[in-house]
């Protein structure tokens, strides 16, 4: 009998000890990125960046003496997997907050999960709808995001066009969430900036050629073309533009063009292409007194040293998300509601993609000034103005 009681007692002790221990040791932070699949060019640098940031925090002694444990999952660019992984992070891994997903479509898919579980999510995807509840007209309480909304990129492009005296344009976009959302904003904001859209063309994400669409656009003789896509297709479309001898029609790319790799892949065709970019793409070009000069240079040097590959602007979104979360953990500890409240009132956070000023009405915290308009000159970016 005594033996039995002792056994039960021991088992209980073991279970309790096992259950209590991880809660004491560290802060658990979750991340979901599209590390593989169609959006891997987003998820891959994001994962690397988040890991790099956490490693740096832990090396410096952690947050408030606690080590940060980052659990990264790969959603393989698949909405169903993304949803399951979000639930797993919240319920099984007990993450206090989650960063990601990488893509607008997937972020929108998990918004209800985080709202229901009352866990903060800092998305790394572009769409304005992620932080805008159409029913209430306000942001979803638990959802934040670091990338500039596509509406800001559109405003930055249209502002530049007004400066250049362009008023008659054609748009061409890819038929997936990023392109569709950008296209909507382009159409919505055009009247405000007195811009006339004469052609509205589309292509598929895996298309090998956009000659037909561009030929049609050429027939309308617009002053400029705006392309809204990410991945290999945005390089093909620039090449086709060059091949068709359409240099007189100024080419604008979305902020998705933010990688030097794209200039290289365009094999000379990208010369003269305009594009709105976050500061971290052009850290070296920024004047020394620019508020983001220091953080962007530091990130660029760290990333190049660790991974020996050029920086992609998408990693910067993960940098912003992870550091925002680290600030929150430092200030209020691992309490979901307090983290949420802290993020909502965070002001003047100097990140890779702008200076963030969050409020109850704005869970993105950026303005169109978060974009610098750049133009491709001599196979590199140059400030346009």
């Amino acid at each position: 009998m005594v033996k039995k009681v002792a056994m039960v007692f021991l088992v209980c002790l073991a279970i309790c000890g096992w259950a209590i221990q991880p809660a004491l040791a560290e802060y658990t932070v979750g991340a979901i990125f599209s590390v593989t699949g169609g959006a891997s060019f987003l998820g891959d640098p994001e994962k690397k960046t988040a890991e790099m940031v956490v490693e740096k925090i832990n090396k410096a002694g952690g947050i408030n003496g606690q080590q940060v444990k980052l659990i990264v999952y790969d959603d393989e660019s698949d909405a169903t997997k993304c949803n399951l992984l979000a639930k797993k992070l919240i319920t099984q891994d007990k993450a206090v907050a989650v960063i990601g997903p990488s893509v607008s479509g997937l972020s929108l898919a998990v918004v209800p999960v985080f709202e229901k579980e009352q866990t903060p999510l800092i998305s790394c995807a572009a769409s304005y709808k992620i932080v805008h509840d159409e029913k209430t007209g306000k942001p979803y309480p638990w959802i934040f995001k670091t990338p500039q909304s596509d509406s800001l990129a559109v405003e930055a492009i249209y502002t530049q066009m007004q400066k250049m005296g362009i008023s008659k344009i054609a748009i061409i976009s890819v038929t997936e969430a990023f392109g569709a959302s950008g296209r909507e904003e382009l159409l919505r904001l055009a009247p405000t900036y007195k811009i006339e859209i004469v052609a509205d063309e589309k292509y598929g994400p895996k298309d090998t050629d956009m000659m037909a669409q561009l030929t049609k656009i050429k027939g309308f003789a617009p002053q400029a073309i705006i392309n809204w896509s990410v991945g290999p297709s945005q390089v093909t479309v620039v090449r086709n533009w060059r091949d068709l001898g359409m240099e007189k029609i100024t080419f604008f790319q979305s902020h998705g063009f933010g990688s030097r790799k794209n200039i290289e892949l365009a094999a000379g065709a990208a010369e003269g292409v305009f594009c709105p970019l976050g500061a971290c793409n052009i850290a070296e070009l920024l004047p020394a007194d620019h508020p983001q000069k220091q953080v962007t240079m530091e990130y660029m040097n760290d990333y190049k040293a660790k991974y020996n590959e050029p920086l992609s602007s998408f990693g910067g979104h993960a940098w912003d998300a992870m550091n925002l979360l680290a600030d929150a953990l430092k200030a209020v500890g691992p309490d979901k509601a307090k983290i949420r409240a802290y993020l909502e009132t965070k002001k003047g956070f100097v990140g890779q993609h702008g200076v963030f000023n969050f409020s109850a009405d704005d869970h993105n915290g950026l303005t169109k000034e978060a974009f610098q308009m750049v133009v491709v000159k001599g196979k590199d970016w140059a400030l346009a103005n």
Binding site: M211, A212, T236
Partner: protein, 300 residues
């Protein structure tokens, strides 16, 4: 701003459509070669195209072999992958039914894609165009020199295969397997070797399609599936098993896509292509050049 006459636009659509169509046609031919000998649809066909592009990138750009040498090396490497596919995935299956074999090719395509992702990473790669990137301007219609290469290779493949199947013993033996494997076995043809050969041949043609496409559209590890779907569509449209049908089907598919993107709503170009495909199958279930009598004897 200069004007751009409608006729020029139309010609431009045709040029673009024929180029894209030529790629689809080459993929469709690859489907047909394996289908004719084994009656299976090799769903890893798109992966051969992807490998063709990426192996060429490694051999030509990274290792620095000249084009003339890199070309055969790439084709050989991909052919080897095709041979391995047959030896490792197709032949070991104990009781081969058409369905299990097709599923084996699906598995193989996922494995090849995964390995390509590990080897080359996820970013797209470019190749220098074979004869420069200066576009040729013929009366306002722009033709990239690479387009001519793509169409040229399609012609070369078509001529080569016609000679092979009509003039050589080996080709005729393969044709015999396609017509009746049991009878072919009776007259002493090693059907297994013919199956192996068919995989090798269609891998080689896939590789050619991939390495000519890459300078136009870049190549990344997950491009294969889409090309396989388009190529399969082309093969069905032209009539599964028919080589002239595959070429016709590919070119028609490319033209529909290009013309509908240019003249109708570009967002629905794939839908137009599918509608035409369905319409053709409705009127001629065996495809444009397919033969219904022959398909009756096939298991799939």
């Amino acid at each position: 701003m200069e004007t751009f006459p409608f006729l020029n636009q139309l010609l431009q659509f045709l040029v673009t459509g024929l180029t894209v169509g030529a790629i689809y046609a080459m993929v469709a031919i690859g489907f047909n070669i394996i289908y004719n000998v084994t009656e299976i649809i090799n769903l890893a066909q798109g992966e051969f195209v992807m490998l063709g592009g990426l192996v060429m990138v490694s051999v030509h750009t990274s290792l620095g072999l000249p084009l003339l040498l890199a070309f055969p090396v790439t084709v050989l490497v991909v052919t080897l992958v095709g041979v391995l596919l047959d030896r490792l995935a197709i032949r070991p299956i104990r009781k081969p039914s058409v369905m299990t074999l097709i599923i084996a090719t699906v598995a193989a395509s996922i494995i090849i894609k995964g390995l390509a992702m590990i080897i080359w990473g996820k970013s797209p790669y470019d190749l220098p165009a074979f004869s420069g990137r200066t576009p040729i301007d013929i009366g306002g219609v722009i033709i990239q020199p690479q387009y001519l290469w793509v169409i040229g290779f399609l012609v070369a493949v078509a001529v080569g295969l016609t000679l092979f199947f009509n003039r050589t013993i080996l080709g005729k033996a393969m044709g015999a397997c396609a017509d009746n494997p049991d009878a072919a076995r009776l007259v002493g043809i090693n059907v297994r070797h013919m199956v192996l050969l068919s995989f090798a041949l269609s891998a080689a043609i896939g590789a050619v399609a991939g390495l000519t496409l890459t300078p136009i559209a870049l190549m990344d590890y997950d491009r294969g599936a889409m090309l396989a779907i388009k190529g399969f569509g082309a093969a069905i449209l032209g009539g599964l098993g028919s080589f002239p049908g595959a070429i016709l089907g590919g070119l028609i598919l490319g033209l529909i896509e290009s013309l509908s993107a240019g003249m109708l709503a570009s967002g629905y170009k794939d839908a137009y292509a599918l509608i035409i495909l369905l319409a053709v199958l409705f009127i001629r279930p065996s495809g444009i050049l397919g033969n219904l009598e022959v398909t009756r004897f096939k298991r799939f």
